[in-house]
Symmetry: C2
Subunit: 363 residues, 2 copies
């Protein structure tokens, strides 16, 4: 057998085609499969390795459980003025999210601001993909999703009751690439805690808690307890702010769309109501040209980004960046060299492929 | 002389009337004076002591410098669809912000979501006042402002280049009071660093930096350097997230409204262009009834808030709260007992009052 940690460099196009082939083999229609594959391979290309092809085995499991509806037809169920609500029909989260963000952008061109909510959806990959999609069209975009799996422990609390509830925001410059923020409202992802455990390294205080809700520096304890802190880390450093933001995301994605359910609540079949197929998303688009004239917005944003890039760093070897810079640098590097995927992931993808009789396209 | 730290308990109504009398004596029209006094005394009543009557001496100074226009007439300069832009004419920040948020709410009832930007404004007090204003009308409200005084040091940076750029978000429940988040995107306010210096206590690492941008636990060093960390505190704990949010606020409040200027940039008279009178604000309103039917939104929000209140705390004496709870508790307490104001502040207010021949109403 080959070494499971051996790294293979795979072109982004091959990753996209592989994902598309799998989704098509599942019965997802061509357009949805292509859209979802584009969103996922984009994450791989930008270095967001936790949200790319590595998710496909998890999606396969959810499909097997009947939680992802491969023949879903998302529908607009409400539309008025500058808002709309889409019922995803338990589809893959990515195509319905592209549909929602494009709809928000089109509305915003007329009304200046627009909001599209989505309910009955699934995991949508990386939130930043959708806000960047808006920015590419010259529109300010926000994308959020609640995450049904509990991870964040509220300030003063013992148990995890909120997902890592990410906020993505992108704004289009002219000369500069879009400002592109994509952040979980937790201090770190659970996966990062696990990576420290694998390397036998202690984690910083403020990342994770034990099962009693006490801060821990033991990554094994934190990962097993599945409890991470809100941004801020500790009460003293402002964890109530990250907790507040996580709740804001939950309100906009779940309460506003009708996707909210209590942890532990079950349906008539005994399945958790708070499940991946109860996922809600929030998309906001703002057309800056309705408030600023001509190219003023992009020009001022460029000046701001240039000012930040020029601000003196503490360490001359580590310049001041703006949100999006690391991902754009990774994109350039991977466009030249391919995406590094471990053999263990290729093996998992091969299993998914063989279960659905899709072609294997990764080498 | 009386002890400057002696505490006097003053009714909220007296504080409001005192502020109104001062603004009226300055020449501010009756409606604007009453609106601004209401916003400021509301902060005192809710325990946001840094954003109440204690700001009046600073406003007096800015008025003296010609930066606050007491006879300003804010005007809507652009309006289309669900957005509008207001030029504040260098007015006090509070009345124009109430006007903007009310306009956003009225628009949102028709279009579902609406955005009103403000430029050429001044300090608007506490951001949370405006988002709660929306929530009281049954509308989800967001309020942000950029803060021209630099305080936040970007991740990897040495110097402070962004203000404490707050984000406020409020959402209306039915049985519960509105969820009401109001947070600076810095870990702490500079004032809090100063309070530690006064008490001779070290500050936690992650609050402030020295003049070389290095983390410090010495409150004197941090306060003199005027450098605080973005939410997250350190790079390891996610300061790039707080920095990203501070930039998002700057983009929405300053770049989107035309209020942005580089630090150090001066006008023809040699005055800094990045000044209090160049302040921009951002107000967003979402009417949940256009996406959810009837009272569904408020009912689900109540269930979520109830769930969080019921989640087990680490310390039985410190229950899990949601954003707004501490301020509502302070409001109830101060409604009964008055607002504690130190003699030193009363003395400052008396000086402001005597300069403009307003009546002194605080005892």
């Amino acid at each position: 057998m080959s070494d499971p940690s051996a790294i293979h460099y795979i072109p982004g196009d091959a990753i996209r085609e592989q994902i598309e082939a799998v989704f098509t083999a599942w019965g997802v229609n061509a357009e949805q499969a292509a859209t979802a594959a584009e969103a996922l391979s984009d994450a791989d290309m930008h270095g967001v390795d936790s949200h790319g092809i590595g998710l496909v085995p998890m999606y396969d499991q959810r499909r097997g459980e009947g939680r992802i509806n491969v023949s879903a037809q998302p529908k607009v169920v409400r539309e008025k003025g500058a808002v709309a609500l889409i019922d995803a029909d338990k589809s893959l989260g990515h195509p319905v999210s592209v549909m929602a963000m494009q709809m928000a952008c089109a509305k915003a061109r007329k009304t200046g601001v627009a909001l599209v909510g989505v309910r009955n959806s699934n995991h949508f990959g990386a939130a930043g993909y959708y806000s960047r999609l808006a920015a590419k069209e010259g529109v300010i975009g926000m994308a959020m999703t609640h995450a049904p799996g509990s991870a964040i422990v509220p300030t003063f609390g013992r148990d995890a009751v909120l997902g890592t509830n990410p906020i993505a925001f992108a704004a289009p410059g002219r000369a500069n690439k879009p400002f592109a923020l994509d952040m979980a409202t937790s201090t770190v992802a659970l996966n990062k805690v696990r990576n420290y455990a694998r390397r036998g390294m202690p984690i910083p205080e403020g990342w994770a808690m034990d099962q009693n809700g006490q801060p821990t520096t033991d990554p094994d304890v934190g990962y097993k307890a599945r409890r991470v802190a809100p941004v801020g880390g500790t009460r003293e450093l402002g964890s109530h702010k990250g907790y507040g933001l996580a709740m804001m995301v939950e309100i906009l994605c779940a309460v506003l769309t009708g996707a909210w359910a209590e942890p532990g609540q079950t349906d008539a079949n005994g399945h958790p109501v708070k499940s991946p197929t109860q996922t809600g998303h929030f998309f906001l688009a703002i057309d800056p040209n309705l408030l600023r004239g001509g190219e003023e917005f992009g020009e001022d944003l460029d000046r701001m980004i240039d000012m930040l890039h020029a601000t003196p760093p503490v360490d001359p070897g580590k310049p001041v960046l703006v949100a999006g810079d690391p991902e754009y640098a990774t994109f350039a590097e991977r466009s030249a060299n391919g995406v590094p995927l471990p053999q263990s992931l290729l093996d998992e993808v091969r299993e998914v492929v063989s279960r659905c009789n899709a072609p294997y396209l990764l080498g």
